[in-house]
Amino acid sequence: MKYLHYIGTYFLMIVEMFRKPTKWSVMKQLILKDIDDLIIGSLGIVAFISFFVGGVVTIQTALNISNPLIPKYLVGFATRQSVILEFAPTFISIIMAGKVGSFITSSIGTMRVTEQIDALEVMGINSLNYLVFPKFISLLLYPFVISIAMFLGILGGMAACVYGGFSSLSDYIIGIQTDFIPFHITYAFIKTTIFAFVLATIPSYHGYYMTGGALEVGKASTTSFVWTSVVIILLNYILTQMLLS
């Protein structure tokens, strides 16, 4: 029953988020600030992780291909498939649940603890629209982050492959072009857009409805990370089943 109540509150929060919109001149500034905090601020860590994990995927694949009958270009093919289908959309989303999710929960939670949300409500402002909606809009640029992750993952794989001596550059490039299915990119972006919604709303829910003090803000951030990750993994399974099988 408790979980049903939480789920109900979450969906009511989403409905409320779209009601009574904040003045556009103010909302515009909030969206730009959130793009800076949530998207631009995440590019560094996403680029770093993508490049090196792409490299590791390539090395692991190359080391596990011991049969001389298997063509060398398969390393590039496997890296591309891993990065585009799973690593970039899902693995990066879990990392973002930690980075962006805990930022959202702790910032909204601190506003709750210090009565800043009450101050907004007393002024007659729809605090959910004011706080959550700009985060949702700015995270619509999340597929852009994932495109960078895809590119750098494959680039990292190429660097590891060539400089590690696992195959030649031309083999790797042939590999990443082999049997390319454009729908896989569409599939990855559909997943990413849905994960962006999850990344904006679940951490906001945990921050907005928290009660207590500073300790509870920390607890809410942890709980938010756990639930965001769980929902992303579950949705990943459901969407893969629906879109690819």
Binding site: K20, T22, K23, S25, V26, K33, T110, M111, T114, E115, Q116, D118, A119, E121, V122, M123, G124, I125
Partner: protein, 255 residues
């Protein structure tokens, strides 16, 4: 004027407000006093519509809050200024941006008009060179004054203050009390202050409502609170040695 009739509010089956009825008059500083846990903050949050109550009604100049549509409630709230216990300034904004916020949200003034108004109210609360400071760089007293400036910037009809003196030294407390009193007189607004500070009661208590265990135990003014024989009130008012001496002097003077 704010009229309150028979307000009941419970949390998880525990009744916190047990039927409070009173009124807060226009142009006066109305104080809600009582011990910690007496229901003062819950009462003020019910008045502001931050908490829903199970029974009773609250009317702002004859407009019953619970009967208003969402739009009407929003319009009414735009006429309310609130000073929170912890000031509740927006961390991400400078002091000037905090004060300008209600103007940006609710008016169609130009940038220069808003800046002029912000300058005016910051001067009014004696903050002249603080425009570009962040709230974290301001002292407790300064934060309270910024909160007051933000509350009055849009010419509210009702001003609520939740423990405006908490955490402040006696001298700064008096400055804040006097500022609230002056603003109430100047703008002829209905001011409701939640406090357990007896100095505030003596300074600005034009109307006092005393709460005890979720009930209104007494109602009067700063002149009558020292004369009352109500045991609950005298227990609270004369709980400190200083106040006991003040009472003794008062009785001796009377004799």
């Amino acid at each position: 004027m704010i009229e309150v009739k028979n307000i009941h509010k419970s949390f998880s089956g525990v009744e916190v407000l047990k039927g409070i009825s009173t009124s807060f008059e226009k142009g006066k500083t109305n104080l809600i006093i009582g011990q910690s846990g007496s229901g003062k903050t819950v009462f003020i949050k019910c008045l502001l519509g931050l908490f829903d109550y199970e029974e009773g009604c609250i009317a702002y100049d004859g407009k019953v809050f619970s009967e208003l549509s969402e739009d009407q409630k929003r319009n009414l709230r735009a006429e309310i200024g609130m000073v929170f216990q912890g000031s509740a300034l927006f961390d991400s904004m400078t002091i000037a941006q905090n004060v300008m916020f209600p103007l940006k949200m609710f008016t169609k003034q130009s940038r220069s008009e808003m800046e002029d108004r912000v300058d005016f109210v910051l001067k009014r609360v004696n903050l002249i060179d603080a425009h570009n400071k962040m709230p974290s760089e301001a002292s407790g007293g300064m934060q309270k004054r910024v909160a007051i400036a933000r509350a009055i910037v849009n010419n509210p009809k009702y001003l609520f203050c939740d423990e405006p003196n908490s955490g402040l030294d006696p001298k700064t407390s008096i400055i804040i009390d006097n500022l609230i009193q002056e603003i109430t007189d100047e703008y002829n607004i209905t001011t409701v202050i939640n406090s357990h500070d007896m100095n505030s009661v003596m300074e600005i208590g034009e109307k006092i409502v005393f709460l005890k265990d979720g009930l209104k135990a007494w109602e009067g003014s700063k002149d009558t609170i020292f004369k009352t024989d109500n045991e609950v009130v005298t227990d609270f008012v004369y709980s400190s040695e200083l106040m006991k001496k003040v009472r003794q002097m008062y009785i001796e003077e009377k004799q």
